[in-house]
Subunit: 460 residues, 2 copies
Amino acid sequence: MDTDPKLQIRRLEKALGAGAHTDARVILQSMYPADVADAFVRMKPIQRSVLVSLYDDEELADFIEYLPVTDAVDVLEGLTEPEQAAVFHELPDDHMVDLLQEMEPDQQKESIELLSEGKKETAEDLLRFPDDSAGGRMTTAFASVRADMTVREAIHELEQIKEETELLSRIYVVDENNRILGKVRLRDLTFSKRSVLISEIMDNETLAVKALADQEEAVQMMARYDLMAVPVVNDDLQLLGLITHDDAFDIQEEETTEDIEKQSGIVGAPVEESYLQTSVGVHIKRRLGWALVLAVLAISSGFVLENFGDDLKRARILMIYLPMVVAAGGNTGGQAATMVIRAMALGELTPGSLIRVVWKEFRIGALIGAVIGLSIGVQIFFSMGGIDENSSFSIGRAAVAVAISLAAQIGASTMIGSALPMLAKAARLDPAVVATPAITTIVDVTGLLIYFGCARLILF
Amino acid sequence: MDTDPKLQIRRLEKALGAGAHTDARVILQSMYPADVADAFVRMKPIQRSVLVSLYDDEELADFIEYLPVTDAVDVLEGLTEPEQAAVFHELPDDHMVDLLQEMEPDQQKESIELLSEGKKETAEDLLRFPDDSAGGRMTTAFASVRADMTVREAIHELEQIKEETELLSRIYVVDENNRILGKVRLRDLTFSKRSVLISEIMDNETLAVKALADQEEAVQMMARYDLMAVPVVNDDLQLLGLITHDDAFDIQEEETTEDIEKQSGIVGAPVEESYLQTSVGVHIKRRLGWALVLAVLAISSGFVLENFGDDLKRARILMIYLPMVVAAGGNTGGQAATMVIRAMALGELTPGSLIRVVWKEFRIGALIGAVIGLSIGVQIFFSMGGIDENSSFSIGRAAVAVAISLAAQIGASTMIGSALPMLAKAARLDPAVVATPAITTIVDVTGLLIYFGCARLILF
């Protein structure tokens, strides 16, 4: 099994292309489903259906888990009803529900009808939870035992369900009302005397998330307490399901994408489809809002600029360095906002530290501003000598004016960039709302005011 | 154990503040170490040392794992040598190595001298790997058995090491040269007949990462193949250690922070310290470079602006809408760059799809540009009527000129924002190098050219 996945994918594609189905099946069986899924999403419909036909129901269920949900639903739709029923039977229940959530209502109803009695009930229970809640992501195929059982009884009970259970390493201990009391690890059972009571060996850790909590809460709990899985409970603390480490990875990836996109002014949850699969309309819907709002806000910069228009006519040097001074604020303010937003997302920083953060950013901004201001001032002094020869000011004065305004703009923008996300958080808004695009728009205005203010004080 | 962590932290702080050490110890023992760590990092040195003195060596080792490494090293330095030795003895070896990596060379040498023979050897072996490599992050406390053992022999062998082993749910099967052959799950052992051979029940999956591979590779493999842990091997495929799901979380968090920061022009790996702990000097070192480079590049925008300076004098309306048209390019180009960079990071997109992506972004940009351009055009037509009363052009013409240049700037910027990161990747550069700050600087120039180009064609 240690062949290079890329090589295997090429061999598979070649075999399918040549119609060599027996060869293709042999290659397929030596491959990890995740690698086959990679090849599948790039295949043409005809090749896709041949590939699907080469798998038996169990293999197909295993393979479908690694496909993007939209592709997985497509595969299911191409199957006969008995095949669909067989695949659903093999799928872990959290994946089954992911697929049902993705379907159109009609199709969802038809698919639920194909399920066995037990699975149908599970599906209906799970579909009641929003798909980004802990309940919407959990599996119900977890292992639980009672505290008053002996190890022998517990092992016997687990043996009955071991095939369906997704994670057997963590076994939850519950009372007669199915309320969580603690947990045992499989190793505790395996290496204990058979006559010992579960209550004697259990760990009375009862960390759990509510079913209606955001899925992100489950992941944060796993990361914080180094857990392999988090139990999901209802309001009466009864155990309903489990979110496992592999779900947590997927959730963390989705949430990170959302955070990154928000910081660039892209709204809404990331779509399940990949970038290329997502329609132009959906892309526009997620991007247009902020782009339009920021465009309207940018009119204010325009009025400031127009107000100082006469100053520009009096000094060519002011025209040349205007875009730089304004842009330097956006760049350094954006850096500060990014650092602060990330630190808050990681729980390292709370709005209570506002003063300490702004004081820190003041020093950082002042020093970065001093270095860049001085560099540009020197550059102006030595290379721009003749630019405003008939004006009333010397090139030295112009260099000083640009350098000071550049330093002041960088210092101010760094402070603004760090303070605004913290103030947003204090006001219970999402800090990402005042990320780079909004900061840039704001410091465009401050930059123009600082620039022309310095010019009037020093030059004219 | 189900009290609210915040409440527990407040009670702990109160007890420590009042000098009620017995109460503090009772509260401490009812708390999760992760919650204590949260309180600890905000405490004054005196309170910190009292808290540390309330723990015994085993509890302290457990607690230290949840502290940021710099704080953990501080705690260790405050202990006597026998206490240090006892805590090191209790620490899992990957955490022990994290702490040693953080120490100054002298202190590291002293600490290694305190270790028992076995631990000393492990530490010296592990310290040879770079701290962001798979080898630098792995634990050597993993479980392995031979394929020709019976289940009875395997269980007997595992029983000897069960206390030290970090993850017993995955047991790796090796040959006589310690090369990996496959794996068994603990459940396979627990529920199998004792006389069965390991080779009969093992799964011959041999997925592993090389010890010198980047730690990110291990995480990508776990996410891709839904693994609970990834074995780490040397060049001869001999099993050296294991990266477990909880390490993977930490690694993923670090790597995400690095990606987010890079996209704002912050260079270098994120530091281990939290935002506030990081010195002003380190912050400046990570941010100054790009800020300076972009400032120098922004001079080119200035020359373009200066070149068209006379046009600005002829139409006040051009002055007012200049900042908006330029900024709209930065915002929409930044959105496109963010989406494409994230899609490449998730493996959804490769540079081979350049044409398809640019064609998609052309349509997205053209439509967003049309909507925003039209909105602003209408706004100009109805509210800016008297602005250039003595000029040769009507307000309608001015509205058309601004609207068209705005739409063209958004369309061009969206295409540039998506294409540059892909071209960077194709050239084997980091796509984040051409993220928002660089894109903004580039589209500032194109924006000015488009704006004045349209003005000259339509207005003058």
